[in-house]
């Protein structure tokens, strides 16, 4: 059903030149993408930047490519690439940056009197740190395995979308996931 709504919105963009339809797509996916980005990037601002850029890039891609049918997979694919680019250009000690940036950010927002509460911010910061550790551990896994495990377990995506993002068949993704889980249990 959600897929059908996406298709309808894409159809509107294609045939009616409807930018409002793209705004609807934004409404549908911005939160999920922000969450997707927030744990993988060192700061809230980085997550916001990457999320905004994801949609801009998706819009440009939609204008140039007429073969997009799965907008969700497209958005996640762009976000993944942007995150990879982010670390490619800033490969230095992420964890430290994360803590300082977010600490400052959180307190400044507290002063401004809006934004989420400090407890929530703290939790996210801890989660980022945990994520770094987990990712380190997952480095022993094959790249395919790691991608599928992250997209499935952390981001909670459907196998079909993961297949579209990684350009694999749904069945293949399923197989990779189950092998990866087996390997995970052997790691401990």
């Amino acid at each position: 059903m959600s897929n059908l709504i996406d298709r309808y919105l894409l159809f509107r963009i294609r045939t009616r030149r409807d930018s409002e339809a793209f705004a609807k797509i934004y409404d549908r996916y911005v939160k999920a993408l922000y969450r997707f980005n927030s744990l993988k990037l060192p700061s809230r601002e980085d997550a916001q930047d990457v999320t905004a850029e994801t949609f801009t890039k998706a819009w440009n891609y939609l204008r140039e490519h007429k073969d997009v049918t799965n907008i969700r997979a497209l958005l996640y694919r762009i976000a993944r690439n942007l995150i990879a680019d982010f670390y490619r250009h800033r490969p230095v000690s992420v964890a430290v940056d994360t803590v300082t940036n977010d600490g400052e950010f959180a307190s400044s927002r507290m002063r401004d009197g809006f934004g989420s509460d400090l407890g929530r911010e703290k939790e996210v910061m801890e989660a980022r740190a945990e994520m770094n550790i987990v990712l380190k551990q997952l480095e022993t896994l094959k790249e395919d395995y790691r991608d599928v495990v992250m997209l499935r377990l952390v981001d909670g995506l459907a196998f079909e979308d993961i297949g579209d993002i990684l350009e694999k068949s749904t069945g293949n993704v399923r197989v990779i996931f189950h092998r990866a889980i087996k390997t995970l249990k052997n790691l401990e």
């Binding site: 159809f11 934004y26 989660a127 945990e130 995970l184 249990k185």
Partner: protein, 359 residues
């Protein structure tokens, strides 16, 4: 790190799902995005075809398509083979002759064409065309050199005879049901012309055949002549009903042509006489012409009856002599022919046989 990696990943997900983006940021990003998108929209209009294409792209159930594709392609190829096969076999059937495997298919195809024609005169025209095909087939079968030739000739002649009968019936039917005199005259002329041609063509076919097969062909020929007479009768009747649909000259011409053709074929002197006698009678009233037509009809029937007797005799004598004296068949046939021929000519007061009366 007491818990497993799997559980920790799940925990990360739980934390991640609680992350809420800032509402103000959400709004401002949305506005920026909408503005950017609006500015960069292509301005070229979308054609309705493009719309349909896009609709197909986005709403066609892709998974269903891939599931359905196999069976659909299979069904299509079965249809293609079946239809391609039927088209190929019909075209093969077009060339087939009586006794061939595909011949019944050819007849069935013709029947289908007839069934698809509703107007009675059109139907008759089609039937006449098919009947002349039968004549052509008979000619081809007669030319063949195959063991079962006589059966094939008999079959072809039988079908031709049956078709000629149908043509005659349909001609009557058209006459009884059609009020348009011109249409009646048109089909009657066609039938007259075609039956004349058929009588002529069958003569050639007949002379090339052995005695055993001549009888059947002659019957078909007689049927063709009969159909021709029927057509002439109708032409004459139409002329009597209204002189507008067909002038007298045309009727006389048709009668003369017919008499000539049949006289040539049968050698009937009575018919030859009536065909020539007409030339000074053209201006007379139609009553004597009607009589003449009746005379011609009778003469034709008798001429063919006489021929049939001749052929039967020839067959009977050749078969009996064939078993007794295989050497010289012609000499042994003569006595039997002489003994029966007078009887044959006696039943035939108007026409006389072409065959020279044996001594």
């Amino acid at each position: 790190m007491s818990s497993s990696l799997y559980d920790r990943l799940r925990t990360l997900r739980a934390v991640g799902s609680r992350v809420e983006p800032d509402a103000a940021w959400l709004r401002s990003t949305r506005e920026t995005l909408l503005m950017q998108a609006g500015n960069s929209l292509p301005t070229s209009p979308v054609t309705s075809w493009q719309t349909v294409g896009q609709a197909f792209r986005y709403f066609a159930p892709h998974r269903l398509f891939s599931v359905v594709r196999g069976p659909v392609l299979a069904a299509l190829s079965i249809f293609a083979i079946a239809l391609g096969g039927s088209i190929a076999s019909v075209s093969a059937a077009e060339q087939s002759l009586p006794g061939d495997f595909f011949y019944s298919l050819k007849l069935a195809t013709e029947q289908a064409r007839l069934a698809l024609t509703s107007a009675k005169d059109e139907k008759l025209k089609l039937k006449v065309e098919f009947t002349s095909r039968r004549g052509e087939e008979l000619k081809q079968v007669a030319r063949e050199d195959v063991p079962e030739k006589s059966e094939r000739v008999a079959q072809a002649a039988e079908i031709l005879k049956r078709d000629l009968k149908t043509v005659t019936e349909q001609l009557n039917d058209v006459r009884n049901t059609t009020s348009d005199g011109k249409k009646i005259v048109e089909v009657a002329k066609l039938v007259d012309q075609k039956s004349g041609e058929l009588v002529q063509a069958l003569q050639e076919t007949k002379t090339a055949l052995p005695d055993g097969s001549k009888g059947k062909v002659m019957e078909a020929q007689a049927a063709a002549a009969d159909t021709g007479v029927k057509a002439i009768e109708i032409l004459l009747a139409e002329h009597e009903q209204s002189g507008e649909s067909i002038p007298m000259g045309d009727v006389v011409q048709a009668i003369q042509d017919y008499a000539k053709t049949v006289a040539n074929v049968t050698g009937s002197s009575a018919l030859t006489a009536s065909s020539t006698a007409f030339e000074d009678k053209t201006s007379t009233s139609s009553v004597p012409i009607q009589d003449t037509v009746q005379q011609i009809k009778l003469a034709t029937q008798q001429a063919f009856a006489a021929q049939k007797v001749d052929i039967d005799q020839a067959v009977a004598s050749s078969s009996s002599s064939g078993t007794d004296v295989p050497g010289d068949a012609t000499t042994s046939t003569l006595p039997t022919t002489t003994s029966t021929l007078p009887g044959a000519t006696s039943t035939n007061p108007v026409a006389s046989s072409t065959k020279p009366t044996p001594p």
